[in-house]
């Protein structure tokens, strides 16, 4: 059996009348891994997914999914993968069960198995009660869960999820994260695009950060955050006149960093411990209104690699399928 891995070398997509949406990316996603593909809108995430799922032919580079070439063996790739694309494209006039029946028939699942498999998937995504209702009446979360069930009908070994939780409430998001985690524990390789830092941080074994069609950083969330470094401590003095004195004390612990308008911050050297800082402030009789330790986030990684914050870093130009 071929490995359920995803590989790409120099994968690129240049649209005829548009930008170079994906600009030569290399990927290696191991079997059973959850790979988070993180980037702002328009960065090239969806175009990459469309190429890897064979919906768009690349203009350069190569890709293999489940051991099959994405250009020459498209049908085999499609048989091995499941995909829930960015838009949970469902027919509002069909019921959840109608969708599952259609999807299974198109995948050639034998009639005798269809009903049982539909029930099993409906239970798995928590839609048993709504199975015979028209999808037009589903909430966003229900549509996403049905979308996931549809991607799983033929028991794929690799799953592509393109921004699966965009627009969902926190409860629906958490439920979907649980399900993705269960799938990965069953050995399914998951390629997940997201613009949510928290999602990549919580779910992904490894994260690739894409910007302007290029991967600017890749690694485990911990390694990426560790790479850019040290935490910052921010102190807001109770008396604004004491900002200078607070800054003098904090300077003993690290170099100045960007802070809120009322605060003083330093990127601390050595261990991320607050106790010595608190003791030093107390020794100088400085009263503190707020004291916070900021651990590095993936947004800090994005900022460090691109000079911009991920939040609000949307591309100005519209990129096809993004």
């Amino acid at each position: 059996m071929r490995p359920n891995s995803i590989e790409a070398e120099g994968l690129a997509k240049q649209f005829r009348k548009g930008p170079r949406a994906v600009d030569g990316i290399d990927l290696h996603v191991s079997p059973g891994e959850i790979y988070g593909f993180l980037g702002p809108n328009g960065a090239g995430k969806s175009t990459t997914v469309h190429m890897l799922t064979t919906l768009l032919p690349p203009t350069a580079g190569t890709g293999r999914v489940a051991g099959y070439d994405i250009v020459r063996e498209g049908a085999r790739v499609r048989a091995a993968i499941g995909a829930a694309l960015q838009e949970a494209a469902l027919d509002p006039l069909l019921t959840g069960r109608d969708h599952l029946r259609l999807q299974m028939a198109l995948h050639g699942i034998p009639r005798r198995e269809r009903s049982e498999r539909a029930d099993e998937l409906l239970v798995r995504v928590g839609l048993t009660g709504a199975a015979d209702r028209k999808v037009g009446g589903y909430s966003g979360g229900m549509k996403r869960r049905l979308d996931l069930a549809l991607a799983l009908v033929h028991r794929p070994r690799i799953l592509f999820l393109d921004e699966p939780t965009t627009g969902l409430d926190p409860q629906s998001r958490a439920a979907l994260w649980d399900e993705v985690g269960r799938l990965a524990s069953d050995g399914v390789t998951v390629f997940l695009t997201t613009q949510y830092l928290e999602e990549a941080d919580v779910l992904a074994d490894r994260v690739g950060i894409i910007d302007h069609g290029r991967i600017v950083a890749e690694g485990t969330p911990a390694a990426l955050k560790g790479e850019i470094g040290r935490p910052t401590v921010e102190v807001v003095p109770a008396d604004p006149d004491q900002r200078g004195a607070v800054a003098d004390v904090l300077a003993r612990f690290g170099e100045p960093s960007q802070a809120s308008p009322d605060g003083v911050a330093v990127r601390i050297d050595g261990e991320a411990e607050l106790a010595p800082i608190v003791r030093a402030l107390d020794a100088e009789d400085l009263h503190v209104a707020q004291l916070q330790l900021h651990a590095p986030t993936l947004d800090d990684v994005f900022l460090a690699k691109t000079g911009r914050s991920l939040e609000g870093a949307e591309e100005p130009e519209a990129v096809a399928a993004e």
């Binding site: 032919p57 494209a89 006039l93």
Partner: protein, 255 residues
Amino acid sequence: MTLQIWSIARRQIVRTLRQPAAVFFPVAFPLALMAVNAGGLTPATRLPGFPTDSFYAFALAVPFIQGSLFATMNAGTDLARDIQEGFFNRLQLTPLNPAALLLGLLGGVVAMGLVQAVIYLGVGLAIGVEFHAGALGVVVLLALATLILIGFGAIGATMALRTGSGEAVQGLFPALFVFLFISSMNMPRDLIPIDWFRIAATANPISYLLEGVRSLIITGWDGQALALGFGVAAAVTAAALVAATRSLRTRMERT
């Protein structure tokens, strides 16, 4: 592939039946228009050379063509919406054979169109229209209606696949309606007194479709009208299927 064709056709039928407007208007509007036309144009049957003394019998062919246009536009709009909203990508990610997509879509159009055709026939019988070609003529009429539905369905699918826009497909509807009105819809071609209208109606393929259907109702077995009706329908269908297949190949970019 049979299962794929059936599944796509079934979806088309189910979603049409779940939209009351998509069922009601294609049936009711052509019949209402026929009633209005018959109300105003019945005196035309007294013209020398008019082929029947019942305008309803003469006009009953029109709902078959008009109903086909409605069924086609609905199917084309549905396909365009699938493209716009991403459902087409969902289908592309399955092992769906492109031919099965087209055949399934057309199968759905034909199924709904034939139901309409049976209703038109029933209404015709109920208002006293006599079918001169008899029971076999009804079968031939349904066969011609099927061919017309496939042809028009393929035109709607081509528009949907080329533009990916429901609005563009709906924009085609008035254009096809103009073709219907500039035809022998309300008057035999040789009795149309205005030269340009008669010439346009003679050049208009819709006239031959109408006359093929009409001949079975008011004449019986008219070989020339049937040959022209089936010939034009077959030519339109063949050309539309080629265009739809090409458009599908372009639209389905998958590797």
